[in-house]
């Protein structure tokens, strides 16, 4: 997989009322606190998945022994969110942060939503394959969550395609999934160009449907993230960077950080 080229200087996020460019943590010389896979699907809720949650965590444990660095995963099941689902016992057993989000489908492609509230689930039919993105992204923002367009470079279901037609309310977009483990190099390249052109923050996710794909792409965080609230805070602040598993391993090794 070709890494996203270059680093992105992110423009100010007007929603946050901040100004000035954002620069990747490594450029500022700050250590990375954690690496999370922000996009994964499991057999618990996705009918096209072959990976179980425990399978993912076992795999992470095995890869850590081989030098990989991955601290957590966010399960983003297709078109649904069950607030009653808990993986606390598994998370503790394998020492991996496990958080829950959702991958929803909108009129400008798929969107990863972190911080799905009962109000959002009440207002929107999460199973809808054409949710109005303006309303959804605004509602997620207002509910204190974060919405990140997924696999931004893919045709039809990625933001880039719709951006070419001028259909996207970019004032509501702070970050996109610039590195997706299931996208081709060409598709990830388009997503990277979108990040550059629009001054967006970037995240990475494996889009794993099978065990061995987990952690293929990751998001680096400057601050520790062990809850959905902390995740949303970092996403809304734009303090994220997409990278591949190989890059994370190299960074962690260079910084002398222990794996896992």
């Amino acid at each position: 997989m070709t890494p996203v080229a270059g680093r992105v200087e992110n423009r100010a996020n007007p929603r946050q009322g901040r100004s000035g460019p954002r620069r990747a943590a490594s450029e500022r010389g700050r250590a990375i606190a954690c690496y999370l896979d922000l996009h994964a699907h499991s057999t618990d809720a996705s009918d096209d998945a072959g990976g179980t949650v425990e399978g993912y965590l076992k795999w992470i444990a095995a890869r850590r022994k081989r030098g990989d660095r991955i601290d957590g995963v966010v399960l983003t099941e297709h078109r649904q969110f069950d607030p009653a689902v808990r993986y606390d016992e598994l998370a503790e057993r394998y020492a991996v942060t496990v958080l829950l989000g959702a991958e929803l489908e909108t009129d400008v492609g798929h969107v990863l939503v972190y911080g799905v509230t009962p109000a959002l689930a009440e207002r929107f039919d999460l199973a809808d394959v054409a949710l109005p993105h303006r309303e959804l992204l605004a509602a997620v923002r207002d509910e204190g969550g974060a919405a990140v367009p997924a696999h931004a470079g893919r045709p039809r279901i990625g933001l880039w395609d719709h951006a070419q037609r001028g259909d996207v309310a970019f004032e509501l977009v702070g970050a996109v999934e610039a590195l997706n483990g299931g996208s081709s190099d060409e598709e990830n390249g388009r997503a990277a160009r979108l990040v550059e052109e629009r001054g967006l923050a970037s995240v990475g996710g494996s889009d794993a449907h099978f065990v061995s794909a987990i952690g293929r792409c990751l998001t680096a965080f400057e601050r520790s993230v062990t809850s959905i609230e902390e995740l949303v805070d970092e996403l809304r602040a734009g303090r994220t960077r997409a990278l591949t598993a190989e890059q994370a391993r190299a960074e962690a090794s260079a910084e002398g950080a222990p794996a896992g």
């Binding site: 096209d48 072959g50 990976g51 076992k58 795999w59 095995a62 081709s184 099978f210 065990v211 061995s212």
Partner: protein
């Protein structure tokens, strides 16, 4: 990690994270040979030429003719059964296509051990299996479960 073909694989040796692979060139000639032994299969006998004819494939929005899905499944099965050895048993293969496999694709057949459990003396190994093309895309991905014998004492 790979072993000479048809060496017996034992459950005791399978470790989570082990991987093995092969290269396979999906030539039009190989597809034609496969079709010739499968002629008449309803899933293959699409008369639109998708498996053999450039114009037929393009009419379906395909860049060029494609490899039959069941042929791709058979190829990945061979990777797994060769690895398992003569006393190994394929129990399940569950795979899906994300994209077509095109004629001429240089494929990487890849399998990774994702779990190994001993259930009442039966050694069961779970493998993620993939076909990956030279563009880094994975047209086929799935899960295979094989039973492997324990190493004789």
């Amino acid at each position: 990690m790979s072993a000479p073909p048809f060496e017996q694989r034992y459950f005791d040796d399978a470790e989570l994270g082990d991987e093995f692979e092969e290269e396979y060139l999906a030539t039009p000639e190989r597809v034609a040979t496969y079709l010739s032994v499968s002629r008449g299969n309803a899933q293959l006998d699409e008369e639109d030429g998708r498996f053999s004819d450039a114009s037929g494939a393009q009419a379906l929005g395909l860049e060029r003719p494609i490899v039959p899905g069941v042929m791709s499944l058979s190829i990945i099965t061979r990777l797994v059964t060769d690895w398992a050895g003569p006393a190994g048993r394929l129990r399940t293969l569950d795979a899906s296509f994300r994209r077509p496999v095109l004629h001429g694709d240089r494929l990487r057949l890849l399998a990774l051990v994702t779990d190994a459990t001993d259930e009442s003396g039966v050694g069961r190994v779970t493998l993620d299996v993939y076909l990956e093309n030279e563009r880094g895309e994975r047209p086929l991905q799935g899960v295979a479960v094989v039973e492997l014998p324990h190493r004789p004492r």
